[in-house]
């Protein structure tokens, strides 16, 4: 090993840098490229809608190219932050509806007032609310998913069940199923203890709210009578029908796994759960979760996405692409794939869509995400269900916490 070999190694190293610099994909972009960040759900779920929108946009705007970069839910926000700091953020970005407020408040998006989007007058109220802040329009509703009850038809037939039309009917049905299937780990209705999306649906059902603004300040309202009634109804429902761990969340385990393992007769969750119930795929069906009022659906949490235009982007081009992507043709395809379209004009009568007619949303405060990250609601539910606190005390603590966090 002498100095010559060493020099050769160094030369190879230098050449490798050059090779990497020359190869590797394009760092620079064409003169007119529209960069779009969509979540990977579009890539696997409805790529043809994306392709059609791209083609339409390119036809209407010659000389433009579209670069769709698919992102994942866990990391797209930190990537977005980096691009905002670096000055090369995308022209269009898909945001979760609960993610919008923080960024709208920070001035990350351009005001889309003055642009006319397809079906703008009939946008789904729950989704549209998430795209508005300070009287301005920042987000165009994209699509949503609602929550429904997925159940095993064979177990329901075993007790000659009728689809329940009120919570009391559902509780009675759950008790019947429980007597027939009395294993310790079997849940007639599997609901994770700290599934606050379900619990808050019960709260909304009784007219309660998580928080409200009063004179420009946020006030937590979980300790008000309406919310307390909802929480009590949730506890009653949980005790009667779910053997889930009282402290676990709705992803550990996944409710569809619980059904697949034969440990649940039904669950209240996303509409796409039917994909993954293993051997019971042919034996499941869905119905709308009922309210405590007979014949009404419970207000559901509408999980969905909006499309926004970050600052620094070409607003006209971006808005044109969004219009192409959210027109009737695109929405029909999305609906056919089991999603809820962004407009009531296309809402049909599937279980998914019927459940979406009544919905509630989280407080539109830029600090709401901190409440979620601080697991305030989960802690409250955990204490209520395990009996560590009374409903009133736990709700009071949570309410104070929420008031403090939202006003920071």
């Amino acid at each position: 090993m002498n100095i010559r070999i060493f020099a050769a190694a160094a030369l190879v190293a230098a050449l490798s840098v050059v090779a990497v610099g020359v190869s590797g994909a394009s760092g620079g972009s064409a003169a007119n490229t529209l960069t779009v960040w969509l979540q990977v759900d579009a890539q696997s779920g409805w790529p043809e809608v994306v392709a059609a929108a791209n083609a339409q946009f390119k036809a209407q705007n010659p000389g433009w190219n579209v670069d769709v970069q698919y992102q994942t839910w866990g990391t797209h926000l930190s990537k977005f932050d980096a691009t905002l700091a670096g000055g090369n953020s995308p022209d269009v970005i898909e945001m979760g509806n609960t993610e919008m407020t923080k960024y709208m408040a920070a001035g990350a998006f351009q005001d889309l007032a003055g642009v006319s989007f397809p079906n703008q007058s009939t946008w789904l109220a729950g989704l549209a609310a998430s795209g508005r802040y300070g009287g301005k329009l920042y987000g165009v509703p994209y699509y949503a998913g609602s929550r429904v009850v997925t159940y095993r038809t064979d177990l329901f037939k075993q007790v000659n069940a009728k689809i329940p039309t009120s919570q009391n009917e559902f509780i009675a049905l759950a008790r019947k199923i429980g007597t027939k299937n009395s294993a310790k780990s079997f849940s007639p209705v599997y609901i994770a203890g700290t599934d606050w999306y379900v619990a808050m649906s019960f709260v909304a059902d009784y007219g309660g709210k998580i928080a409200m603004t009063r004179k420009g300040k946020w006030v937590g309202t979980l300790d008000k009578p309406a919310a307390l009634a909802g929480l009590a109804a949730y506890k009653r429902f949980f005790d009667a029908s779910s053997r889930a761990q009282k402290t676990t969340d709705e992803a550990h385990p996944q409710p569809y796994d619980v059904i697949a393992q034969g440990n649940a007769a039904s669950t209240y969750g996303a509409g796409w759960f039917t994909c993954c119930v293993g051997d019971y795929k042919s034996k499941v069906a869905q119905f709308v979760m009922p309210s405590h009022t007979k014949g009404q659906p419970i207000p559901g949490f509408l999980g969905g996405s909006d499309l926004a235009v970050p600052i620094g982007a070409n607003k006209t081009a971006a808005a044109a692409w969004i219009s192409a992507f959210t027109d009737n043709a695109s929405m029909s395809v999305l609906r056919a794939k089991g999603n809820i379209p962004n407009t009531t004009s296309l809402l049909g009568n599937s279980v998914n869509e019927r459940a979406a007619r009544k919905s509630w949303f989280v407080p539109t405060s830029k600090n709401w995400i901190n409440v979620e990250n601080g697991n305030v609601l989960r802690t409250m539910l955990s204490r209520i269900l395990t009996g560590k606190s009374s409903i009133k005390d736990a709700a009071s603590v949570a309410s104070d916490n929420i008031t403090f966090t939202l006003n920071q």
Partner: protein, 301 residues
């Protein structure tokens, strides 16, 4: 004093040690077998999670979510592997990872070795300061550096470009490599070094000719670490590379569990198994360098 008795004593002296040698050899062999058993037991416990990952990769979905876990699949399937490879940009991503890691390992080993030699073997002002700087950079929590680093790369137009990630990995790994190689060089006994100085060649020439073979095991261990860290690095790769065809394997893996729907566990395990293969190949290629006896003959030279 030669006598028959002496001859007999001498002969007996030759016979007795041989018997003792045989028992010593047998004892050594038994001890080796005992150690081998311990080694195999350690192997089984250590590798179990990896085995679980690979075993799951071959199980069909119904078995993966079953209530009672099974050791081996009763209906093994290659479907997950096929699905993983069929995912968009798989081969692009493999190529990107290989290029990046190759460049990072080559560059960092050369550059770090030179710096380590300087720090360990030369006396110069700023030596100690530089060493402290190197370890100081190692102590920085990486989370805080992500966004400012992205801003720097954006200024150089290196975002969404493999070269940007190569430089980032170099910056993360050079301090580690310098710190570790310096330690290995410092550990070389002085006698072996001094033997090299005798023939009057330049100091640097002596260092590279003598030091390199001596420190080869350390170089290999460090290069394996650099390889694996760069291969598995996620945070910076994810932020810097936004176009899917420019991404690395680790980022590509995150798409398996980043959807809003169910996680494809079988696919994730199959993809992870595929991701591990180049690392093992690299290691098997270099592992022979970590061997005893490499330093034998250095003193004589």
């Amino acid at each position: 004093m030669t006598s028959a008795s002496e001859v007999v004593v001498r002969q007996r002296a030759e016979v007795v040690p041989r018997a003792a040698t045989i028992t010593r050899q047998r004892r050594r062999r038994l001890r080796r077998i005992a150690w081998n058993v311990v080694g195999l037991a350690v192997f089984v416990v250590l590798v179990f999670p990896v085995f679980w990952m690979i075993s799951t990769a071959f199980k069909p979905d119904t078995e993966i979510n079953a209530f009672s876990p099974t050791w081996f699949s009763s209906h093994p399937t290659l479907q997950h592997f096929r699905d993983a490879i069929a995912r968009p940009y798989f081969w692009d991503v493999v190529k990107n990872s290989l290029i990046i890691v190759g460049a990072v390992v080559a560059l960092s080993m050369v550059v770090a070795f030179l710096a380590a030699v300087a720090l360990a073997k030369y006396r110069f002002t700023g030596n100690k300061l530089f060493v402290v700087l190197v370890i100081g950079i190692l102590m920085l929590p990486q989370a805080g550096l992500v966004i400012p680093l992205y801003v720097v790369l954006a200024k150089y137009h290196l975002t969404n470009h493999l070269l940007g990630l190569v430089f980032t990995h170099l910056v993360i790994l050079l301090p580690f490599a310098v710190w570790t190689l310096r330690g290995f060089i410092l550990g070389i006994p002085k006698e072996l070094e001094e033997a090299a100085m005798v023939d009057g060649s330049s100091r640097l020439g002596a260092f590279t000719r003598i030091l390199l073979p001596l420190v080869a095991p350390g170089l290999v261990a460090t290069s394996v670490f650099v390889f694996i860290t760069s291969w598995n690095e996620y945070i910076f790769a994810n932020v810097i590379l936004t176009d899917q065809q420019n991404q690395t394997l680790t980022v590509w893996l995150s798409y398996f569990y980043g959807t809003s729907r169910e996680t494809d566990w079988g696919g994730l395990m199959a993809a992870s198994t595929l991701t591990a293969i180049p690392v093992v190949i690299f290691f098997l290629l270099v592992q022979r360098k970590i061997a005893f006896g490499l330093t034998a003959g250095a003193v004589k030279a």
